[in-house]
Amino acid sequence: MTQTRISAVFRFLRRRLWQVVPVVFGIALLNFLILQLAPGDVVDVLAGEAGAATPEYMARLRADFGLDKPVPVQFLHYIQHTALLDLGFSFRQNMPVLQLILERLPATLALMTAAMGIAVISGLILGVLSARHVHRAADRVISIFVLVTYALPTFWLGLMAIVLFSARLGWLPSSGMTDISVELTGFAYLRDLAKHTVLPALTLATFYLAVYTRLVRTAMLEYFGADFIRTARAKGATEARITLFHALRNALLPLMTMLGLQLGSILSGAVLVESVFSWPGLGRLAFESVLARDFNLLLGILLFSSVMVTVLNICVDVVYAFLDPRIEF
């Protein structure tokens, strides 16, 4: 990694970060369209209909949106607010939407990171095993496991995991991120956090684990026949070395591509997993806002999570370039 390459990475980052702008604009347009098409006027929708909003709040919202003005002006208004990340105020939670989202963000990121770590590592192990023993018993067992895993609904898997591992066996806690009944610090706190993370992270990881296993298997099989592998064999490299250093390194590339493509879907999965395990993240917040009919908050989450997917995608691209020196920025 030379100096020029590192500065190229920074130039690339600067250019890519501009791509967040059209995403924000697009989602804002989409949100605005949904609000326009929804039954009732924008303020009725945003304030929910349970009647919890005070008349003053409704009047303030109507003024904010300039509902007496023509639609294009209203849209400009909306875009202006969104561009400054002013996502409005959540009446139900009595807090600005952005602040609510930022408070819940770390929990979701932690869950996603843990789940992806599990999925990538076990996917690599199972995929390599499968490819090394292609069409033999181990490969068949892994293939059937992958097939069934593809069909498991995440939320159902989570519920069944709670029944087995929390209720019947009593091994792991079934809800929350930490034990709130005791004040823990240092190592004990981390231990508690880890115990709470196991079930939700495994549940979220399962589907992606299956996807990566399959992907790595296909990629490895393709590379086993490639010229550079034959060269390595001719040089006398051991099979283990060929598998780990030659084929696997290249199999990581399609895996990264897939990971980048699936970020949105992982976030979607987190919504379900969080509501099953009462994990205090963005997904749980989305679920709460649906229950409370707090649509302003819900639309804010939609916008914020889309921006997050774009930003994470840029990160994936950078990692990709580190793995594959042929990539030009």
Partner: protein, 280 residues
């Protein structure tokens, strides 16, 4: 041609298993109605009867004493219907957008691809939740929302097929004969672009069924329709004491999703034989 395709599918063990599972679900959704004709919302026995406890409720009852078998049969119909219709919506939108982009290229394509990318960036399930929550939960909004969030892969696929096919000789020939754009797209290019779209559609039905279940699990199902996700969502509070209430509809979802996945893969092998050769 269809008979040949069916024969090919039946020769493939995995696809045949998928077809059998699918047939079983179809039978459950249609004939099952005659077997368990009751209203799935009506109380029919003591609450929380375990499967096998009482012959009148062979699969037990839920927390409110509603018959599980009747609910599962109703859920089979809902899942298949929403899965199929939302996939038709997604395929329709995807084919239209992909065909226009791939055929006209230029700024039309650039614009449509931007829209597609946008819909791929948005977390799809979150968008579906937003749409259903704001437009009031019902079978129609769920179907529509699932269709809206699942068209981008089809659009991308159709676009790339169109980009390749539009340069081919038979298209040039038809154009030289004076065929208009619309007829060129619909009668010449589209039929040749369809096989991979059919594969994606089969897989899409599987995802749509899972999405529908997830929506109703979160309480965003049609309040008048008993679907598998609804049963799981209702049984959730007592899952530790009566796991079968969540367990049985979950198994049903797994089987149907598995069926469509197997079918999709079988179709893929049958329609793209060159891929199969590469695999071995």
């Amino acid at each position: 041609m269809y008979l040949a395709l069916l024969k090919e599918l039946l020769r493939n063990r995995a696809a045949a298993a998928g077809l059998a599972l699918l047939l079983a679900t179809l039978l459950a959704a249609t004939l099952g109605r005659f077997w368990f004709p009751g209203d799935p919302w009506e109380m029919s026995g003591a609450p929380m009867l375990w499967p096998g406890d009482d012959a009148a409720n062979p699969l037990g009852t839920d927390l409110m004493g509603r018959d599980m078998a009747t609910g599962l049969v109703s859920g089979a119909g809902v899942s298949l219907m929403i899965g199929l219709v939302s996939t038709l919506i997604a395929a329709g939108a995807g084919i239209t957008i992909g065909a226009l982009g791939g055929f006209y290229r230029g700024w039309t394509d650039a614009f449509l691809m931007r829209v597609t990318e946008l819909f791929q960036t948005v977390p799809q399930f979150v968008l579906a939740v937003v749409l259903v929550a704001i437009f009031k939960p019902s079978v129609a909004t769920a179907t529509f929302a699932i269709g809206i969030v699942s068209w981008p892969p089809t659009a991308r696929l159709v676009r790339s097929e169109f980009l390749a096919l539009r340069e081919r000789g038979f298209v040039e020939a038809a154009r030289a004969l004076g065929m208009g754009d619309f007829r060129l797209i619909v009668t010449q290019i589209l039929p040749n672009a369809l096989p991979p779209v059919i594969v994606i559609a089969a897989l899409n039905i599987a995802t749509a069924i899972q999405t529908e279940a997830a929506l109703s699990f979160l309480g965003l199902g049609d309040p008048n329709v008993m679907s598998w996700g609804t049963i799981i969502g209702n049984g959730r509070e007592q899952v530790v004491d009566a796991w079968y209430i969540c367990g049985l509809p979950g198994i049903a979802i797994v089987l149907v999703v598995l069926a469509f996945n197997l079918l999709g893969e079988g179709l893929n092998d049958a329609l793209n034989p060159h891929l199969r050769e590469k695999e071995t």
